[in-house]
Symmetry: C2
Subunit: 317 residues, 2 copies
Amino acid sequence: MNDDVARVLGGDQRAISRMMTALERRDSAVAPVIKELDCKTGNAYTIGITGPPGVGKSTLVDRFTGHLRDLGLTVGIIAVDPDSPFSGGSILGDRIRMQRHYLDSGVFIRSVSTRGQGGGLPRIVKRYGVGQTELGIMTVADTVVVALMPESGDAIQTLKAGILEIADIYIVNKSDREGADRMAAAMRAMLQIASEPQEWEPPVLLTQADRGLGIEELWEKVKEHRSFASAPADDLGQPSLLEKRRSDRRRAEFLESIQEELNHRLKARIENDPTLRLMLEDIAIGKREPFSTAAELLEEKHIAGFTFLSGEGESLP
Amino acid sequence: MNDDVARVLGGDQRAISRMMTALERRDSAVAPVIKELDCKTGNAYTIGITGPPGVGKSTLVDRFTGHLRDLGLTVGIIAVDPDSPFSGGSILGDRIRMQRHYLDSGVFIRSVSTRGQGGGLPRIVKRYGVGQTELGIMTVADTVVVALMPESGDAIQTLKAGILEIADIYIVNKSDREGADRMAAAMRAMLQIASEPQEWEPPVLLTQADRGLGIEELWEKVKEHRSFASAPADDLGQPSLLEKRRSDRRRAEFLESIQEELNHRLKARIENDPTLRLMLEDIAIGKREPFSTAAELLEEKHIAGFTFLSGEGESLP
C-alpha cells in the first residue's frame, strides 16, 4: 500500500489509473492510499469548462492546454462525458482532437465516462486541471468557465438553462458567427444586474478557439478570478472565497461518500430481506403506495431487522 | 384527512395544490392522503416533453394541448423549470404562452420550480399529463418526447448530450429552418442502427409548432407508442413494457423516499453530534481526508451513538 502511494507520487501512470478506477467504484480498499496522498494535494488549480454540445469545448481545451504548456505549466485533463452507449465515438473524437498533447509528458488526459477504461494514458503530472464537464460536477472546480455560442439560442433562453449562475467566466465561442457581439452585450448587462457590489462580476469573453483567438485573455481572466478568490475575506483571518469553496467541497465529498454507501446498503438490505422484498413487490404491482409505505417504514424505524438512522440523536436499540 | 381525499377527487384546485406542495416538501403528514388516493390513479397517460432551451417546448405544449382538447381529452401540464433565481421570467413567459388554455377547466397547469408557489390555478381534471421537463425527471413519463431543432448543433453533437437514448419519439421543431431534413435523416439512420429488431424504433417527426404543423402526427405517434408499450410481452401473462415502466417508477419512488429521509437524518445527526461535527470541521480544513474518513466511520458502524445501516442483514446492537 505504501508502494502505491510512492508510485502515484512518482507519477506512475498505471498506479494513478488504478487508483482513479478504484475511486470511481468507491472501493474502500483505496481509502488508506487516498488518506496518505491527501496532504500532498491541493497545489493544482482546477478549472472547470462546460457548455452545450457543439459549442467547441474540446477545441477550447486543446488550445488552452497549448497555451498553458507554452507558459511552462503542466496540465491534467479530466474529460467527463455523459455515461452513454452512443458516446464512445465522441470521447474518441475528443481524444483525437487532443492528440497534439497526447505524447506530451506534461499533459495528463483521462476520460471518466466509462468505468474500468483508461489504458494507454501518457505520463502524468497533475498540476493545472482543465476538465470538460457537465453541470453536476462543476462544484469540483476552483474557477468555472461556461462556453456558449451565438447559436446556443438567444441570451434569455440561455438563462433558462440555469447555467448562467454557476460560472465565474463566460465565453462566447465561435465569435465570428452572426450575433456574437449582441449576445455578449446582453449577457454582460444581465450579469451586471445580477451581481452584488463587492462580488466577482463574471466577465464575458469572445473567443474563436479553432483559430486560437481569445485564449490568452481566458488565461488572464482565470488568473484574475484566482487572485480575487484567494484574497483574504478580511483582516481577521476569515477564509478566502477559494478556501471556502474547497472546504465546502471536502465536506460534500465526505457526506456523499457516506450517502452512497448507505444507499448501497439499503438496496442490499432490501434484496436480502424477504419481508422488504415482498413489500417492494407489492409497491410495484400497486398493492401498496410508495411514498406512504416509505414514511411508515421510517416511522417504525425498525422493521424486520432493518435499523434506520435516527435523526433525534439517541442510539437505537 | 378524508375530507382532503374527497376534495382532491372532486377536483378542488386548492386541495390539489396543497397536496402537491406537501409532496414537493416530502412532508410525511400528506402520506395518509396519498395512500388513499393511490388506487384512483394510473388512468392518466403521461407524456414527457423535453429538449434544449429555445427549441420551442412551450409553443409545442400549447399547440399539443389545443389538439388534445379538440379531441375532447382533458390535460394536466406540469412545467418543470430548473430551480433558478433568474428563471422567474421564463416561467412567466411559459404561462403567458399557455394563456390560451388558462381559463379552460379541462386544462390543469402547474409549475414546480418554485416551492410554495402555485396560487390561482384553473380547475383541474388530471387526465393527459403533458410536462415540460428536464432530463432527470423523464423517468416519470409513459412516452418520452425529445424536441430538437436544426440549430441545436448537428446530429452527432446531439448524441453527445446523451438525450438520444431516453426518447420514444423525436421532434425536429422549427423545421422550416435550413438543415432540418438533413438532421432528421441523420437521426433516423443512427436510431435504426441503435435499435434492436422487435424493439420500438423511435420515429423522427418534423414540426413547426408555431404554425401548428406536425402536431396531429405527434399525437398519432404517441398513440402508436402507447399501443406498442401496452401490448402483452407474451402469452404467459408477463407484464407489458408500460406496466414494467410504471412498476419501476413505483419502486424508484419508494427507494428515493427512503434515501432522501436517510440523507436528511444523516445531516441532522452530524449537526447534533459534537464528535461528528468536529470530524466534519477537520475534513473541511484538511486535517482529515473525506473519503477515507467516511470509509472508517462506516467500517466501525457505530460511532458516538451513530447507527449505520448494515448491508449484511443482521440487526445492529
